[in-house]
Amino acid sequence: MGLFQKLFQSREKRIEREKYKIGMKKTRTGSLSSLKEVLLTSRKIDDALFEKLEEIFIMADVGVGTVAKFIDSLKTEVKKQRCETTEALAMLIVDTLFDLYLKGEIIDTNIRFNPNGVTVILFIGVNGTGKTTSIGKLAHKLKAEGKSVMMAAADTFRAGAIDQLKVWGERVGCPVIAKSAGADPSSVIFDAIREAKRNATDVLLIDTAGRLQNKVNLMKELDKMTRTIQRELGATPYETYLVIDATTGQNGLSQARIFGEVAQVSGIVLTKLDGTAKGGIVLAIREELGIPISFVGLGEKITDLDHFDIENYIYGLFADFFK
């Protein structure tokens, strides 16, 4: 392969990646090939095949309601389009999945940066989903893009949480605003926003304590935090990322719904996708509540955080099914 060809190819690849960052376009090549493999084993389109599909989706933790809806609309389309070959069905499945996720919208997974000052990003979620780690990874990513970053340790509840964030601050090389354990998280946020503004910091990442969504008092505490942010920022929009562990089952829907009532969740960070869990509940969350996935956590390394890519994701759903 000639040098020019190589350069040309890598440039094209970069453009492709950029495209995903700007807005996810409907592409179907990658996921289609893997699905074909799945479908090649069955000759005809019958109930057994639909049951197999249902199994794939339920085993991937896609919400039960969403799966039922998906299979129903697939069956209807199969009849309507007189779809007889499994190849045609594969096409239909991927189309239906894309439609299900995109809902006719263009999804921008980029952070909405504030052009006139500090961009605030709030991380919320239940216990143990990886909020602090995701903040560390995102901070690294933003620093690499040349942005100045600050962290706020608003998880004043869990033992060791402040220290954990400070370690990430050192690794990434950014200041961490913290008070003592047990301090009012809203006051930490208040201080951090003032400090970030004073230092003309580009991005402020706020770590909060994990909380189960049915704990009324903890959700009230979160409500107070968002009000503090809104008061300090005025009309300036900010990002709120709900961090969801890929191993989460149907409860993810309840998490998204109830956290969404308290905070304006702008995107989901789907963590621990490097395991065997598929995190399919995010499809149900998107379908039922409209919240898109912004980032995915793919491993232990500091660089293992990526923009969500629906094509890659669908590919992953089917990839190891027929190993």
Binding site: V64, G128, G160, D245, T247, T248, G275, T276
Partner: protein, 456 residues
């Protein structure tokens, strides 16, 4: 609260069956569809659900059911028995070493709650078995994991053995064991780092630790919110380490916790403990059969009573129970009960233990502040009124005075009166409980109208 929606789904499915004289195949299929959907929504593994419903179908279609006098109840029993069998029938106690310190290894995925659980478990065993626990910090990977363990250890007054994050876990546990022996510690809990079951290097590390410490128990922590993958994870950890038990964490969430069913069924490993809250005392011995009946909406009165007696003076609780069951329940008792509830923790956490209340606890956000209001209303009553609730029923001026005195509306006073009355009735029925009346009661309590003040 675990299993809530499963409970209400089952209740709905079963309601259609009760009252019928005979079951036909269509009925059974319809019910099985509900059972299947609700189990899947509860995150029970797809394959487990399939086997389960197949088993039920066979049992339900058999002559046993059709010959029965009350088929609906028999199906309830079949499902309940099967669930119980699936969960394992009895609480499995922790094993202790015959001599020398008992060593427990906690293992699991990241973020499942190992560190918190290690501290809770050490504290529970110290309290219930009079042991001297030692916590061992073997998670050298997650930033500040050692700090976290040291903090919770200090809060509980339990010693934490640590060697920082520069030494290998294998070396740390070797030293820790020697320290336990020389220091007279007889219960050692090792907090290992969270890891993916497919990470061979880290899984091997656990195997080596196991070889060194020869643990009495290897407990796998499983997040109650885990979906279908729970089975894969449990299988992998079990194959590598021969896990002796599981701890189901974060069970105080609104998850239905079907992972518990799957893990038990697929690996055969018993669930021994459950984490039920943020406080370091929030850990319980896991009672599988109670969990099964909670699924069926029969409540978990036994756990409630146990929990109550642990926190409250036993005599006080007994006299309360007697009064409740005799239906002689006045505002003084209600006030005492509120105090107990306050001591026991959030109201919404208590509700799930009461039969049929699970649906209510889930569907409505119960505001603990309401307890304060109720207390204010009762405190505005005269001693006579508190003793004789019927005084209020007879006089609207009394009700008005109480409303004004407490700063609450008369609607709220009326609601409180209705609540007391319902509670009296409910407790009377409790006392003379047959399965049939239990079911009726459960049905009635599905209607949360004014029973417990709620907040939008």
């Amino acid at each position: 609260m675990a299993f809530e929606n499963l409970t209400s789904r089952f209740q709905m499915a079963f309601r259609r069956l009760t009252g019928k004289a005979r079951l036909n195949e269509t009925d059974i299929e319809e019910m099985l569809r509900e059972v299947r959907l609700s189990l899947l929504e509860a995150d029970v593994n797809y394959k487990v659900v399939k086997e389960f419903t197949d088993e039920i179908r066979e049992l339900a279609l058999g002559e046993k059911i059709l010959k029965g006098l009350n088929p609906g109840q028999q199906v309830v029993k079949v499902v309940n028995d099967e669930l119980k069998r699936l969960m394992g029938s009895e609480a499995e106690p922790l094993k202790f070493a015959d001599k020398g310190p008992t060593v427990v290894m906690l293992v699991g995925l990241q973020g499942t709650g190992k560190t918190t659980t290690a501290a809770k478990l050490a504290s529970l065993i110290r309290k219930n078995h009079d042991r001297k626990p030692l916590l061992v910090a073997a998670d050298i990977y997650r930033p500040a994991a050692i700090e976290q363990l040291k903090t919770v250890g200090a809060q509980l007054g339990i010693e934490v053995f640590e060697r920082g994050d520069r030494q290998k876990p294998e070396a740390i546990v070797t030293e820790a064991l020697a320290h336990a022996k020389s220091g007279g510690f007889d219960f050692v809990v090792i907090d290992t780092a969270g890891r993916l079951h497919i990470n061979e290097t880290l899984m091997d590390e656990l195997v080596v630790i196991k070889r060194i410490v020869k643990p009495e128990e290897i407990l796998l922590t499983i997040d109650a919110m885990t979906g279908q993958d729970a089975v894969t994870v449990a299988k992998a950890f079990n194959e590598a380490l021969q896990v002796t038990g599981c701890i189901l964490t974060k069970l105080d969430g609104d998850t239905r916790g079907g992972a518990a069913l799957s893990v038990r069924k697929v690996t055969g490993v018993p669930i021994k403990f459950a984490g039920t809250g943020e406080k370091l005392t929030d850990i319980e011995i896991f009672h599988p059969e109670r969990m099964a009946s909670r699924i069926l909406g029969m409540g978990d009165v036994v756990t409630l009573i146990e929990k109550a007696t642990e926190e409250i003076d036993e005599a006080e609780a007994m006299s309360m129970m007697e009064k409740m069951l005799a239906g002689q329940f006045n505002y003084n008792d209600l006030l005492k009960q509120l105090k107990m509830i306050k001591r026991m923790g959030a109201l919404s956490g208590i509700l799930k233990f009461l039969p049929g209340m699970s649906a209510l606890a889930n569907s409505e956000k119960i505001d603990d502040k309401q307890l304060v209001y109720i207390e204010a209303i009762i405190r505005s009553m005269t001693p006579a009124e508190r003793k004789q609730p019927e005084l209020l029923e007879r006089s609207s001026s009394r009700r008005r005075r109480i409303a004004e005195g407490s700063g609450r509306s008369s609607t709220e006073v009326n609601r409180l009166m209705a609540m007391l009355e319902k509670q009296q009735k409910m407790m009377k029925q409790f006392a003379s409980m047959s399965p049939q009346s239990m079911e009726k009661l459960t049905d009635r309590m599905q209607d949360p109208q004014g029973f417990i003040p709620k907040k939008k």
